[in-house]
């Protein structure tokens, strides 16, 4: 698809919604910092399905940079977690969506949430805490990934039915 004004407008609108949800989720108090639904992923997955991988990557990078700017974590080492895990999760979702295995959008979203959280766990092990004690978080992380993936997947299916772009 060629770059058109409409495509730029759609990417801008979806990026803003992803950033907004990202910031709101960081403000809500929670017992663990990664205990979040990841609602921004709804818009990234919609762009991935409706347009293509590059556009979804643009929305992801915007979410990471602007979102972390607003939540005060940009220019800290913690932004690495957000950046790397968002890109890995996007790549996993794209691979599953394009693969021959018949995952629905719910399965793709669960895989995305799980790969996002597991990348953060592995990064935490290699960059910050060089101790296998950190893997005590493993069951909690799998549970959070499953629940948040289910929620975002159902939202994506509902929105996918109701949103149509003219440009595609």
């Amino acid at each position: 698809m060629k770059t058109s004004t409409e495509k730029i407008l759609i990417l801008a609108a979806y990026s803003i919604m992803a950033v907004l949800l990202f910031v709101v989720e960081s403000i809500i108090p929670k017992p663990l910092p990664f205990m979040r639904i990841g609602l921004a992923n709804v818009f990234i997955l919609l762009i991935l399905v409706h347009i293509d991988f590059t556009s979804a990557l643009v929305v992801t990078l915007t979410k990471v940079i602007i979102g972390n700017l607003f939540s005060g974590l940009l220019f800290t080492p913690l932004v690495l977690f957000s950046l790397v895990s968002s890109i890995v999760s996007l790549a996993v979702m794209w691979a599953l969506y394009k693969s021959r295995i018949s995952f629905s959008l719910i399965g793709v979203s669960i895989a995305g949430a799980l790969s996002h959280l597991l990348t953060q766990l592995v990064l935490g092990y290699f960059l910050f805490i060089h101790s296998s004690r950190i893997f005590a978080l493993f069951p909690i992380i799998l549970l959070i990934g499953l629940i948040s993936g289910l929620i975002t997947g159902i939202l994506v299916i509902i929105l996918y039915k109701n949103i149509r772009f003219n440009i595609i």
């Binding site: 017992p31 663990l32 910092p33 800290t76 913690l78 295995i101 018949s102 995952f103 629905s104 959008l105 719910i106 399965g107 669960i110 895989a111 799980l114 935490g124 910050f128 805490i129 060089h130 101790s131 004690r133 950190i134 893997f135 005590a136 493993f138 069951p139 799998l142 549970l143 990934g145 499953l146 159902i154 299916i157 509902i158 039915k161």
Partner: protein, 123 residues
């Protein structure tokens, strides 16, 4: 859109993925949370060094990285820390073996061990 319509989107691959994740949750939690015995020793790991601390004596320990650790009534907690979100302080008291507090900004982990895991304590 009603509930049945959403359920009809599930495929076999989704089901296998969900079942696999649930089995992984159960198996890994059995490994992680199997012993809940009260503990006598805490281990603090920071800056690549490891410290053993007895829980039998009430004391306050201040680490070089600005964390205050409090030991009281055979429990341990982070009383104060100079990190940004203070997740380690909000975590509260540790009492049972294998409980963990992690403070990422200070690169510190505190966890409890069973008595039998240690040969001796040096001070």
């Amino acid at each position: 859109m009603n509930r049945c319509e959403i359920l009809s989107h599930f495929t076999l691959a989704d089901g296998i993925l969900i079942v696999f994740v649930i089995v992984a949750i159960i198996v890994s939690s059995i490994f992680v949370y199997k012993n809940g015995a009260e503990s006598e020793y805490a281990i603090i790991e920071y800056n690549g060094q490891t410290e053993n601390i007895s829980l039998n004596k009430d004391q306050m320990i201040s680490l070089e990285n600005g964390m205050m650790i409090e030991v009281k009534d055979r429990r341990i907690r982070v009383k104060d820390s100079d990190c940004h979100q203070k997740i380690c302080v909000k975590h509260g008291w540790l009492r049972y073996a294998n409980d963990v507090i992690v403070c990422l900004p200070n690169k510190t982990i505190i966890y409890l061990k069973k008595k039998s895991d240690l040969d001796y304590i040096t001070r």
